[in-house]
Symmetry: D2
Subunit: 326 residues, 4 copies
Amino acid sequence: MPVPAPNLYPPFNIVRLSHVTYRVTDLAASRAFYVDTLGLQVTEENDSEIHLRAMEERGHHCIVLEQAGTADVGVLGFKLFDEPDLDKAEAFFRARGLPAEWVERPHMGRTLRTRDPWGIPLEFYVKMDRLPPIHQQYKLYRGVKPLRIDHFNMFSADVDASVAFYNDMGFRVTEYTEDAETGRVWAAWMHRKGGVHDVAFTNGLGPRLHHTAFWVPTPLNIIDLLDLMATTGYVANIERGPGRHGISNAFFLYVRDPDGHRIEIYCSDYQTVDPDLEAIRWDLKDPQRQTLWGAPAPRSWFEEGSLFEGAAPQDSALKAQPIIAP
Amino acid sequence: MPVPAPNLYPPFNIVRLSHVTYRVTDLAASRAFYVDTLGLQVTEENDSEIHLRAMEERGHHCIVLEQAGTADVGVLGFKLFDEPDLDKAEAFFRARGLPAEWVERPHMGRTLRTRDPWGIPLEFYVKMDRLPPIHQQYKLYRGVKPLRIDHFNMFSADVDASVAFYNDMGFRVTEYTEDAETGRVWAAWMHRKGGVHDVAFTNGLGPRLHHTAFWVPTPLNIIDLLDLMATTGYVANIERGPGRHGISNAFFLYVRDPDGHRIEIYCSDYQTVDPDLEAIRWDLKDPQRQTLWGAPAPRSWFEEGSLFEGAAPQDSALKAQPIIAP
Amino acid sequence: MPVPAPNLYPPFNIVRLSHVTYRVTDLAASRAFYVDTLGLQVTEENDSEIHLRAMEERGHHCIVLEQAGTADVGVLGFKLFDEPDLDKAEAFFRARGLPAEWVERPHMGRTLRTRDPWGIPLEFYVKMDRLPPIHQQYKLYRGVKPLRIDHFNMFSADVDASVAFYNDMGFRVTEYTEDAETGRVWAAWMHRKGGVHDVAFTNGLGPRLHHTAFWVPTPLNIIDLLDLMATTGYVANIERGPGRHGISNAFFLYVRDPDGHRIEIYCSDYQTVDPDLEAIRWDLKDPQRQTLWGAPAPRSWFEEGSLFEGAAPQDSALKAQPIIAP
Amino acid sequence: MPVPAPNLYPPFNIVRLSHVTYRVTDLAASRAFYVDTLGLQVTEENDSEIHLRAMEERGHHCIVLEQAGTADVGVLGFKLFDEPDLDKAEAFFRARGLPAEWVERPHMGRTLRTRDPWGIPLEFYVKMDRLPPIHQQYKLYRGVKPLRIDHFNMFSADVDASVAFYNDMGFRVTEYTEDAETGRVWAAWMHRKGGVHDVAFTNGLGPRLHHTAFWVPTPLNIIDLLDLMATTGYVANIERGPGRHGISNAFFLYVRDPDGHRIEIYCSDYQTVDPDLEAIRWDLKDPQRQTLWGAPAPRSWFEEGSLFEGAAPQDSALKAQPIIAP
């Protein structure tokens, strides 16, 4: 079996992915994209930073936009279950010789900053400032009506190794793509919170962030966003979709922010809370793997991604290629 | 605070609600309703029983229909995380002087049969036969396109006590209704699997089952079901809705099966995996509590429910009344 | 046959309903309702008048809101096909001893002002100022995303007579409700533009305007409006729905403006351009006539309406009653 | 101005497009596609012919499938307003030296068979057998829930000339594409029934039928069809879409039947009944003309089409090319 058995008793309890820090080169342009177009809500902003949340989130932020000279990704954040999990996490990373330091982060309690073995910057916390619910303030809904952050997808130069490491942390594989020739895993989707994924890994020059995804109510919201972007100067930012993924069965759209950071708009995958959920295998050459309806993804989608601050990407040894749009 | 703090370290680990056994007086009529109208899939049937699953479920059944002389509810089933949780559950119930026996159930592994303190028949298991996925066999989708069982709602003669007992088992309150005059909880919604609820309790003659709910993709599927039921002889089985709940923010419809068992069709509540999620309080007299758009529920919805086999219901001491449609 | 045969060669060619003038007692409150909540676009406004159009309309206005001491309806407007039709219309009304005068109306060419035999103020024109299309300026879409004015529904004290008169003008009956006891028509739906109706008549104290309807893209837009109104102080303005009409098969919602003028939000009826389209008959006592799903309309919906300026309503002789919600 | 002014007083009154006869090489395969997959209703069938209607149509058929040795198109049918229009049509075609004969067609009254100047086989009638309404028999809805035939799109070797001829017959241009270099019309959309088109012409090897379109309720029905086709062996029959057209603003999908005849699934264009509706001009090189969201159509979509029985296609003199997907 090419993917590891689920680790039902992980060393510390990760509840879900939580937030991402995007470093952007023009904060006003990014604000126009994330706030005015996608419809995320500003929870705090100044000249150098904007904190955003989606409509059903009560934590203070799911995205932090930071004005920077170069566009990259500052950190991926995860929420842990309880205070002792923070100390257990520290022990887990230290035992593997990985960095682990306690940092101050606004709006967050004790925060452990670390990196995975390939340099992806991670932070773990238990408490983030909680805000009053706004999910029933319907006059605030705009754009694609983003409800919550759903997942991160990362390029990995060694997906088998990435899966093994995140499996150790308790992420469970729900679906994966195998390269039939080598028997290696080409991509994998892994969850903590009961959907198809909190994190996914795709073979390629890595580590890089492929995309961050937001959950929306229905496919019609995605069509609304396409109509809006197409008529407000963002037509070139539409990269792929709309479509139905074979993997995850979700309805999707990929768009690029003004710095090229990729955002997926995503809805209607399925519930995965059963610990005995069988992972679904896909063949790399199956044309319906990417898009159930048969349309391949464009080359940019396979090749472009956001660098993580402080992590130099490496080429992947696995050279197998999926079907790419001509 | 009228609802207990979440029990983050429960005595055994319940993953989610799993299934219900409905005893029905005309199996063919029930089949026409659940299979041909709602669109559930038959996984096994004979002259006296039909097993059904929803489209994204891989467990063998979420409903068992049993031919019986009298319509009632046989049992509510819950899936546990791992084998040791079964033994811990047995100890939990025995310690409280409640029945706990190991029973044989087709398609299920070790199964613990018990009752809650008011007599609601419960069963717990870890392993149920797993079936191949059908969520991408779109030709099988029919009716309301039910994706998965979502929750049980029960009448309780003492909601505060029911909440305390299920809280002990690890169910966490997400929203509740308070009777302002007495300070007592009139209704509560409690989850394990990360949605607004796996179980809910409503003040009234109890224990009785108020309804079982199924999750569907979008509100348009609910409109499709209304059109179908209205033109296939089921117009009198439409009890309440469609509408948006104030509580849970879900889009809903309530229909009655041929024996009067109530089924809710439900979609678009919100994610509740955060252990520090603040429960939302509603006042019993708030007209938007039931339906955000202001329409009250009919009297039948407040008064009628399904008896549990072997459990005699008692009147509630709390006499406070919500707004009822004239 | 209780409804007249269609008049395929009418005396003048009415293209479609066009606009309504609502006299309102608080122009700012009406603006908040029609512009900020429903999402109509302002094409001109000053302290005493606001002109509005819907998203796919190129004519200057479909609603004129006029500040007035008393709320009523100023006029119902209809677009004619060509200039000679205006003179033919004048001859038609004069021949029946009805008023017919040429009036100046801003943004409109030659305009014939008249009244039907029961005093409903009507105006006919061929040319109205044409504005650039905005249907692909998606950033302007708001509220319920109203696309176009769809129809007027009027109380009539003698529906048979109203149908006969409007049939003479070329409106064709698509559906009607008969009182089985008397054989009289209780309500009728009549079109010019190829949908189920441009005008409808309902038995009751008349003439009064029952409602003006706007066409929207899908039922989900109606659900969005309900969510918005329910959380912005308009919950009491939601009168009936959402639902599927038996008659017309349309999905509907009825709301009341700040003066009580009734607006229907409407979508998905059917095409009626065939001149040999058979009118569909409904019995007044059929519960699915009003709402296919069985829910009756509230009493206010049957009894309340807007007065036409200068037209005193009369009681209807036909006393038959539909099913009314308790 | 590159398109002619609308002919408000045409020589005979065409109500709408009505039906198409497709000659197919495997009637059973075509039935599986049109009936089981798209969801059209069989109104009559035998070993050599199947008649179909869509859900809101009351005329006997909108498609006739005929078993044949070679796949092509037998005829395009149009409904006229009244009996005298048939004789006026005969005179119109005879005056232009075009064929005009009275033919017997099952289920239809007097039927005039003719060809346009480029050989497209046309038939005109007033009366077709009328069937009971089924639009409220919701148990019959399947597949994409087709409501009615919407339009024909034809390749023309001289679009300017085709537009002039159909304009003479009273079709009015709603939108058109101009080749900026030559000032010639590259494509045009023309209506009779009040939508964006009953007929359209596209520059290319012609005459050939580019596609027949069906109107469906909402974009979600199109997504449902994609999911169904993708999982029932029709993934290769999905040619283009889903997307939003720039021209017409409609939401679309193009699929191919088992013989390669192209069917468009279409919804949400706009009302065009105003005789003074201004035609919208698009530049051939505008990437949003084809798809508002920017995705170009594939080469097959520009090059492939169905031959008309008995009409040899000619190359177009106009060589200008739109943007084609690589």
